[in-house]
Amino acid sequence: MNDRIERLRAEAAELKVGKETASRDGLYQVAGAVAMGVGAAVALTAYWTSLGKSDSRDIDSLMILAIAMLALAVVGAAVFLRYSLARFLRFWLLRQLYEGQAHLDQLVASIDRNGDPASVRRSFVPESDAYERRNMTVGAEGPEQEL
């Protein structure tokens, strides 16, 4: 048994397989949304309730409750954004990569078709294609035999 397998065995044994990993993001997202909603609602309710109070101690208590609930709403909003935006940005990044590749392919193809391949293409793919074309035939001789 080689070292790699021994290392793999040790690291696999330590791997914490979280069956709920995939759903955990969604859970945090829902929890964030709930905290945001509840926090805002209770803060507003405390504010409205305080309007009917005349005792300054009641008003102080409701003010403290409202501020605490506003803090909860802010934290909830942050958690919600963290888990919903992360997913969105991941897809956005992938889309950017694929679109960039598609544009690059179009550009290279267009230069191949319309430009002077000998002079223009060199700046994009120096000898790349030429290298492959030279090696299309099995057993081709020449200095490009190495990979």
């Binding site: 048994m1 080689n2 070292d3 790699r4 397998i5 290392r7 793999l8 065995r9 690291e11 696999a12 044994a13 791997l15 397989v17 979280g18 069956k19 990993t21 995939a22 990569l97 960039g100 590749q101 690059l104 392919d105 290279v108 994009f124 793919v125 120096p126 790349s128 294609d129 290298y131 492959e132 090696n135 299309m136 035939t137 099995v138 057993g139 081709a140 190495e146 990979l147």
Partner: protein
């Protein structure tokens, strides 16, 4: 988690997988022994790439188990599997087209090691990449992109390598050379599962081969034993 001595580095047991309501893998059993090259062959749409996705953690199976060195890792995310040494080169190479060769290799430093050491290892294996180090990966030829993908995978020092359609879109001579590199990698002790449509390319270097038809492994054996059955697997005869 139980660790079984002598268990293969990668093992799929009764794996079923589906896209939505459509089941694609119908109870697949496959093992990749230590230091061996296993070729998974089959026609387009047989479920080969789906099996790679399940093995690499990209697609959770609906039933069955994925075991790495005897440990059940079913449901583990792909980044955790990559971290422990299960590396995948997906169909289409998976290089970052808008990054240069050097920047693509830099991505591998996330798994440890310095860029200088990674570049040295990559360029020693594929000198051609050294000549292209400042070129955007998207402008490399197909063969060079595959070299880059292979280099980036190997510098992470994986224990198991999953290769999906290495030969896709490449000239036969390049395919032959890439598989020579794969054979050399296997001789260094890395266990390899190669998924291929073009059987002849991979059978020359494989230790074991399996034929997949309609989401099921219909035959497992040595490459020599399977040669005669390949035509029926591809033509449905």
């Amino acid at each position: 988690m139980a660790i079984v001595d002598g268990s293969p580095p990668l093992e799929l047991v009764g794996v079923r997988a589906a896209y939505g309501g459509i089941e694609v893998l119908h109870g697949v059993d496959l093992a990749v022994p230590a230091g061996a090259v296993v070729a998974l062959l089959g026609a387009n749409g047989a479920g080969k790439s789906t099996l790679v996705k399940v093995a690499s953690g990209l697609l959770p199976p609906t039933a069955g188990a994925v075991r790495v060195a005897g440990t059940d890792v079913t449901g583990a995310p792909p980044h955790d599997l990559a971290r422990i040494g299960l590396c995948t080169i997906p169909e289409g190479r998976g290089v970052f087209p808008n990054l240069t060769v050097r920047e693509n290799l830099w991505m591998a430093t996330q798994a440890g090691g310095t860029l200088a050491a990674i570049e040295e290892a990559a360029y020693a294996r594929f000198p051609r990449l050294g000549e292209r180090r400042t070129q955007l990966a998207g402008t490399l030829s197909g063969g060079e992109q595959q070299m880059l993908a292979l280099s980036r995978a190997l510098v992470t020092d994986p224990a198991v390598l999953l290769l999906d359609e290495l030969s896709m879109g490449l000239a036969p001579i390049l395919v032959q050379r890439l598989y020579e590199t794969v054979a050399q990698v296997a001789s260094e002790g890395i266990s390899i599962l190669v998924v291929e449509q073009f059987a002849q390319a991979v059978l020359g270097i494989a230790d074991r081969a399996a034929i997949m038809v309609n989401g099921e492994i219909t035959r497992v054996g040595s490459p020599a034993e399977l040669q005669s059955e390949l035509s029926s697997a591809y033509l449905g005869g």
